[in-house]
Symmetry: C2
Subunit: 206 residues, 2 copies
């Protein structure tokens, strides 16, 4: 394996189970998950640097100007984004980092960092998605329909992801994604150090 | 996992251990290895359809004309190539197929079938490569120098492979390549069936 960590983006339909999967990946294998920066006020119990990096609007806009965010967006008068420093620091330490972000953000990250791998988590079929959303019992029927409509739209962009993983059984899926991320260490773009080393050694008539 | 098998090309420096690794992958996990067609005469003990598909020059040229070969080349008045039918048949049966071919052939396959994944096996460093070639005790120093010179040339094209795997410990490397090939089932290009299914279900208001 390479010594540097690699960056993977995980997205998926609402109800596909990505939140649980990412938590399991962190717990079982020590992946780091990026922490978002936001200008919204902390809620009860939220700690700076743990749940979010809390920033003023001026600080956030300075980060944008400095190119200090991997991606950002604004919702309802607040900014949300992924600070680059924290991610880079983990990668340098040899820790693989997972960014759990929605599709639009993911595609923006890929545009800016083509070497990043995008993983999309999908349930085995649309019926299962509806059942999972309804089974949660936390959302109104109206919200569920909106989420399904959004999933139907997102379908059109699945092709832009590098890997599509089917979450049929949570446990199996966590292991499969772990196996996938480990395998991604062998991607040519992540082995540039090894390639350069071999070239150098051959040039010096090993 | 998808029901169809996937096609992977494995190449590597002479002395990188790819022959042994491919044999282990077949023995441990039931991968199919493509069988080459050739116009050269069978040697003692070689069976048609097991070691090679033996063809006349006319038969081979008809296969070229029919587009029945994934790749081919001619060496010393004989043709060598990879028949498409055998590979396609295995893939349809859900069996993953490995093509163990040298770099030039591999890059030709990639050009024609961009969805194929190319894996390059390298020793940890050039010194190990020399030691392994010398340790075999089967080649003259002259042949070893030629192989090393060829490896030095091949270095320039490593970047065109999709994955670079370091063979430091044979056993570990076999498991890593198995993990990699299994993970490649999730590649977007291999999940077109799942994507089409989700699109269809959402279109029918699941």
């Amino acid at each position: 394996m390479t010594k540097k960590g690699i960056l993977t983006v995980i997205s998926g339909f609402s109800g596909a189970g990505k939140g649980t999967i990412v938590r399991e990946l962190v717990d079982r294998y020590g992946y780091a998950v990026s922490i978002s920066a936001t200008t919204r006020d902390p809620r009860a119990g939220e700690q700076d640097g743990v749940h979010y990096f809390f920033k003023t609007k001026e600080e956030f806009e300075q980060m944008i100007a400095d190119g200090a965010l991997i991606e950002y967006a604004s919702y309802v008068d607040n900014y949300y984004g992924t600070p680059k420093d924290y991610v880079m620091q983990k990668l340098e330490q040899g820790i693989d980092v997972i960014l759990e972000i929605e599709m639009q953000g993911a595609l923006k990250v890929k545009e800016r960092f083509p070497e990043v791998s995008l993983i999309f988590i999908t349930p085995p079929d649309a019926k299962v998605l509806r059942e999972r959303l309804e089974g949660r019992g936390t959302e109104t029927q109206d919200v569920i329909e909106k989420r399904l409509a959004r999933a139907a739209q997102e379908c059109a962009y699945m092709d832009q992801y590098d890997y599509i993983v089917i979450n049929d059984d949570l446990n199996v899926c966590v292991e499969q994604i772990h196996g996938l991320i480990q395998a991604l260490h062998w991607k040519c773009v992540n082995q540039q150090g090894q390639i350069a080393k071999m070239k150098g050694e051959f040039a010096n008539k090993a």
